[in-house]
Amino acid sequence: MSLTAPPLPDKSAQAIAAPMSASRQAWRRGLYRFSQSTLSIIGLILVLGLLLIAVTGPWIVPFPEHVTGSIATANRFRPPSAAHPFGTNELGQDVLTLVLAGTRVSLFAGLAVVLAGAFVGTVIGAVAGYAGGWVDEVLMRLSDLKLTVPGLIFAMAIAAALGPGLVNMVIAIAAGWWPGYARLVRGEVMSKKEEMFVTAARALGASPGRILFRHILPNVMTPIIVKMSLDMGFAILTVASLGFIGIGVKPPTPEWGALLSVSRNYMPDFWWTAIFPGLAIFIAVFGFNLLGDGLRDVFDPKARR
């Protein structure tokens, strides 16, 4: 390189102008890793299917009027048939209709719980991890305190206090959902805080807010997203559990747990009233877990079994 003339871009600089942009390449790489696992693909298909049903629910159900609570007592407890593939329940409602309509409720509730939990947990964990010292102590002891009470019991207590309803149930579950995220984020933030690029930002004179939001948090997003997708299944299960014990969503709103709860009285003679809502819960939990595993493998191949 000559000393007087401005240095010219060297050959090495141009060599990297690859035909495909590298971020697209990274996506393709991730997609490739994801597609290597059959189970992840199954998870993705299940989740996409559920999402499709949740979005189109009211239009694809065979008996839309049953969703809003209309009954047909003449048709009680019909076994699965061509007209009612999943049979009918004690009110003569089409079980397929209820299960399909319930997808929207369950997915929405699960998503809301996870989003709220992740948001609160991320804020608390980030503050604790970044500030350290007594702030960290206080916030973490608070989350430990939460962890001493079993999640379902905690949610039951809060839900009972708030009264029934979808929103209240989401609040009740989310109130106990954040500590897992707080711990995850705190740990990640503490380790990222020591990264060289964070020191570099500090050396530049960047403010704490800038360091936290621009440098640290974007780098801890992937484990949060992975945990969220892994948590979705469990959140749906918790929603269903509350529905089952009658604290959550009340009929006529079709919710899988509540459907299951009502139909347990009619087992085993009218098995179809219970088996299909149960199967729906199973598929949702299973699908999200597989998807979460797959995402973890994509984002963090090192964590693979």
Binding site: M1, L3, P7, S12, A22, M196, A200, L204, A206
Partner: protein, 263 residues
């Protein structure tokens, strides 16, 4: 330009239930003066206190005793606003070009960030920041089309160029070079050393070059200080120190260096 007067730094270990609090002395009575426009080398092995020294100069840590003066101002006495202005004047290039760039930011964001942080001092709007980033990239031998790429798309040498561009963004007077080439292959190291030398000539920069690699220090530095166990054991013009090392430790270091035989 940069003066350290009897600077010491002690770290306190955690007091445990069973042992008294331990104090580790990382730097002891370090005094040195870096002149305008020179390359001042700080040579030492791992654990010698080099890292502590850079953190003190950047004021990421505060010395236990002693003063650090930059262009005549005692850093400890500066107001917050003056300190912010001073941060724009002292910049650093880090050792590890992989770890020192935020993997989630584009080259554009990395290089313009210092200008954004110091916009009060520099007064650049968005468009002129981008223009300056392109100019900086050209200066370090990269091209404008690299602005919208991410660090992982570059080789080690190219990343180090990005790191240098970032350090130059605020138009600093002093550049702290913390082992800037030790993570690079020799052929790339040679390119980066030449780039640094060329930039110094063009921009009139002052360098503090911290390294354990004696051959690099001999090549690039005007004066050097050898640091061992937190103390400076020898200072002087690079040529003299290498030809006639006065200190036993320096002699040992020079004897141990894996040099090519004179050919």
């Amino acid at each position: 330009m940069l003066v350290l007067e009897r600077v010491s730094k002690e770290f306190h270990g955690r007091r445990s239930l069973f042992s008294a609090r331990r104090t580790v002395s990382a730097l002891r009575d370090v005094s040195l003066a870096v002149d305008h426009g020179e390359t001042f080398g700080v040579v030492g092995e791992s654990g010698s206190g080099k890292t502590t020294l850079t953190r003190l100069i950047l004021r990421l840590d505060i010395p236990t005793s002693g003063r650090i003066l930059f262009e005549g101002d005692d850093m400890a006495r500066l107001s917050a606003a003056a300190m912010r202005r001073l941060r724009a004047r002292i910049q650093i290039v880090f050792q590890d070009p992989y770890a020192s760039l935020n993997p989630r930011m584009t080259v554009h964001d990395i290089v313009t960030e210092p200008m954004l942080i110091h916009r009060a001092t520099l007064g650049l709007d968005q468009r002129s920041r981008t223009a300056r980033a392109a100019e900086l990239l050209a200066m370090v031998g990269l091209a404008e089309q690299h602005l919208h790429r991410y660090p992982h798309e570059f080789s080690g040498g190219q990343r180090q160029r990005i790191g240098i561009a970032r350090a130059l963004a605020t138009g600093p007077a002093l550049l702290l070079l913390d082992e800037p080439t030790s993570a690079l292959d020799v052929s790339v190291q040679a390119q980066v050393l030449n780039l640094l030398h060329g930039l110094q000539q063009r921009l009139g920069l002052t360098y503090v070059f911290i390294s354990h690699d004696l051959s690099v220090v001999r090549y690039i530095c005007d004066r050097i200080a050898v640091i061992n166990g937190g103390e400076i054991v020898e200072t002087g013009p690079a040529q003299d120190v290498f030809r006639n090392p006065a200190n036993a430790y320096t002699r040992m270091l020079i004897a141990a260096m894996p040099d090519l035989p004179a050919l």
